[in-house]
């Protein structure tokens, strides 16, 4: 793999930042849809470098965060069964259901395995014919095609002890829901590049035109984010609202035809609940009737699920961009990555976790201000606390 350094080049970043600073004249609120973009923004401090007039709002695009509590609880229930081998991507294991997580199920004797591909789960099914092997199929348009292909393979190979616990979601209906919200502040979107590499850009022009909102397809490296912001700000300043592909090295307008064909064969569109947000019409996929036998919810009678979401968790507002993570009363006190109230704090792509991991320094003085003397704003506190740290004066630097 090449080009990582090229897309983190400080000199090129400075040029993009200069362009953004010289272009912006009014306050703008941009939403990056994907949790991977949020992670890059916070990890590299990009939001600190943008003009104060440009606000980045973190969107609902963390697949781990938006998987409904009920589905997590179903996963916990299925994974606890003695004959089941439950396979999942690693970052789902730490997501809390009602009272416990998959790590805990494993510590109680459940056979929970981390896999790196759904095909690995299928292989496990072939190697363990006496067990039921269930793969936790969550995610956006990025993870849906390989999961669809795995079910297709299972059917083709006649593997009967494999099933999928499905909670796949689609991005465009979420954008639609956010724009229809009366409290929506979003004026432009940075669309998730990997989603568009599968789906293409065809779903977006109508959305952009109807809501008069620029949509810039954006990648995940720091320069990708800055270029996305730059193009969005240019559109906003000019009063335009088109779909712009700033991730042309990976995204073609027509998407990935093979992946789309697989999705169309195995899945069908359905209403889907998003954790913290609620049901969004047509926002998910379920296995189509031809593959219903591979649906874990049909295969296992998962009843008696009694979900209990912590009342003080405000991750839904965070996922809709209505609340910054540190503005939540529970942030960093009753809710930390050690003891998360919601998935936005536990997922590595979650906005709350990103703020907690990377921004505690600047947030702490702001929060203390509620009971103590006025503190500097987040950005000011950041600069006084660290940007002037005397590392440059090191005699051996």
């Amino acid at each position: 793999m090449k080009y990582i350094d090229e897309f983190q080049d400080p000199d090129l970043a400075r040029r993009l930042l200069d362009d953004i600073h010289s272009t912006v004249t009014r306050p703008w609120a941009l939403m990056e849809v994907c949790g991977g973009q949020t992670h890059t923004i916070i990890r590299h401090g990009i939001d600190q470098l943008l003009p104060d007039l440009v606000e980045l709002i973190h969107g609902p695009g963390c697949p781990v965060c938006v998987t409904p509590l009920e589905v997590i609880d179903k996963a916990l229930e299925i994974a606890s069964r003695p004959d089941v081998i439950f396979c999942s991507f690693g970052d789902m294991l730490r997501v809390p259901g009602t009272g416990r997580d998959l790590f805990q199920v494993r510590s109680e004797g459940g056979d929970v395995r981390v896999v790196y591909s759904p095909l690995d789960a299928l292989k496990i099914a072939q190697q363990n014919p006496r067990n039921e092997v269930v793969f936790f199929g969550i995610g956006f348009e990025t993870t849906a095609p390989p999961n669809a292909m795995t079910v297709y393979q299972a059917k083709k190979l006649g593997i009967r002890n494999f099933s999928l616990l499905v909670s796949h979601v689609r991005v465009p209906p979420a954008i639609e829901a956010i724009m229809q919200s009366p409290s929506c502040r979003v004026q432009a979107f940075l669309a998730a590049g990997h989603v568009c590499s599968v789906m293409g850009t065809g779903e977006y022009p109508e959305l952009a035109a109807r809501h008069r909102v620029p949509i810039v397809v954006t990648g995940f490296e720091p320069l990708d984010i800055l270029e996305g912001v730059r193009r969005a700000v240019h559109q906003l300043e000019r009063g335009e609202h088109t779909v712009d592909n700033a991730y042309a090295r990976a995204v073609r307008p027509e998407g990935n035809p093979a992946a789309l064909a697989m999705l169309g064969d195995v899945f069908e569109v359905t209403d889907r609940a998003w954790r913290g947000i609620g049901v969004i019409p047509d926002s998910g996929w379920r296995l189509s009737a031809r593959y219903r036998d591979f649906d874990a919810e049909h295969r296992f009678s998962v009843t008696g699920i009694n979900t209990r979401e912590p009342a003080e968790c405000r991750s839904g507002e965070v996922l809709q961009g209505l609340l910054k993570p540190h503005e939540c009363e529970a942030f960093g006190t009753t809710c930390t990555p050690r003891n998360p109230l919601g998935a936005t704090m536990v997922s590595s792509e979650g906005a709350c976790a990103a703020y907690y991991l990377y921004r505690r320094l600047e947030i702490t003085p702001t929060r203390t201000a509620r009971t103590a003397a006025p503190a500097p704003t987040a950005r000011t506190a950041e600069r006084t606390a660290t940007a002037d740290a005397p590392l440059e004066a090191s005699p051996v630097a």
């Binding site: 401090g45 991507f89 805990q104 109680e108 981390v114 969550i138 956006f140 590595s348 792509e349 907690y356």
Partner: protein, 353 residues
């Protein structure tokens, strides 16, 4: 109200593991869960001022001689990996724990826990690797033990080693000696061991030309101490990586730590593998690296000495201890932003997409 004054000295938390009723893998990951297990469960149960130091090795005085004493267990999978084996690790891990106290390891104990059914040829290869590593590190395996567990109750071979060595006079390495202004030096490229292991682990094989950095650090430490015995603290960033070591030092010293992310040596294959898996190289394990907090006036000379040693030729200054944000580690990013570098909770988990 009863007329009593409560003396809370010596109290420990009555519910130390409130969120985890059972052991999970993260309790062995070298992060926050591991630290909690030791500090809230083991340390109160065992007691004792020596254990309370909570260093990589204990410092004890016997017959007027200051000794470093350490133990570690090795449960790595697979048993053989690019650049080493569980046998090399079992020597170098313990030797390096002693070296972080400034001691040269003198004697090791070695306990093998073998799983029923493992091939004797495999045990022999591991034993030979262990013997070779001990000779290379200049340490003698003086005592040992063997146990066998039933098939299915182990991963082939587990090894425990303990080691002992003498701390030279004038050497006092502990985080409490760190003061603002100390220069932070890392001895070389980070993340090699963790990525080498991941590159051959079942389900995650990916083609990288990378080997573990597994190596004994005693000789490098000796070269550094020859420049000045006044090094403040050394740590070898194994589980939890550089981030965990820096956090431990920051927490124990009360100092803040600032690092320049761009100055941390990360080999390109490590950076690429981490990018694919969604991992942060700062949290990836090493087995032949150290991080040193050195008084500013000695930093240049120590760095020069490290760079003349084969295990320190990529040594680099990566940051310093500061007055600001006590107990926290902060990274300045390549683009000019900043972020907190936190203690990992448990193990790093590859992202979903």
């Amino acid at each position: 109200m009863p007329d009593t004054t409560l003396d809370i000295t010596g109290w420990t938390c009555p519910a130390p593991l409130r969120d985890r009723p059972r052991v999970v893998m993260g309790h062995g990951g070298g992060g926050a869960l591991s630290a909690e297990l030791v500090e809230h469960l083991f340390a109160p149960a065992f007691g004792g001022p020596v254990l309370a130091q909570l260093g990589d090795s204990a410092t004890v005085t016997l017959g007027g001689v200051r000794l470093a004493f350490s133990t570690d267990s090795y449960v790595v999978r697979p048993l053989f990996f690019p650049g080493g084996s569980i046998g090399d690790l079992a020597v170098n891990g313990t030797v390096n724990d002693l070296a972080m106290s400034g001691a040269q390891a003198a004697y090791l104990s070695c306990g093998f826990i073998l799983e029923e059914g493992v091939e004797l040829s495999v045990v022999a290869r591991v034993a030979e690797a262990l013997g070779d590593a001990a000779r290379a590190a200049g340490v003698e395996v003086a005592t040992g033990d063997t146990k066998v567990v039933e098939a299915g109750h182990g991963d082939g071979i587990y090894i425990n080693t303990a080691g002992i060595g003498i701390i030279p006079q004038g050497v006092d390495l502990r985080p409490q000696r760190v003061v603002p202004g100390d220069v932070v030096i890392v001895s070389g490229e980070i993340g090699l061991h963790g990525v080498a292991i991941m590159s051959v682990r079942e389900g995650l094989e990916f083609g990288v030309d990378i080997e573990s950095d597994c190596a004994p650090l005693g000789d490098l430490v000796r070269a550094m101490l020859e420049v000045t015995p006044d090094l403040h603290v050394l740590r070898d960033p194994t589980r939890g990586g550089l981030a965990a070591s820096l956090n431990e030092i920051a927490a124990a010293s009360g100092a803040g730590v600032v690092i320049q992310e761009g100055r941390v040596p990360v080999p390109v294959p490590v950076r690429n593998a981490c990018a694919i898996l969604g991992l942060d190289p700062l949290y990836v394990a090493n087995e032949g690296k150290l991080v040193a907090f050195v008084p500013r006036e000695h930093a240049e000379a120590v760095l020069a000495a490290m760079r003349t040693h084969p295990l320190g030729r990529h040594a680099a200054v990566i940051g310093e201890a500061v007055d600001a944000h006590p107990g926290l580690v902060v990274a300045r990013t390549g683009l000019g932003g900043t972020r907190v570098v936190d203690l990992p909770i448990g193990e790093q988990l590859p992202r979903i997409c």
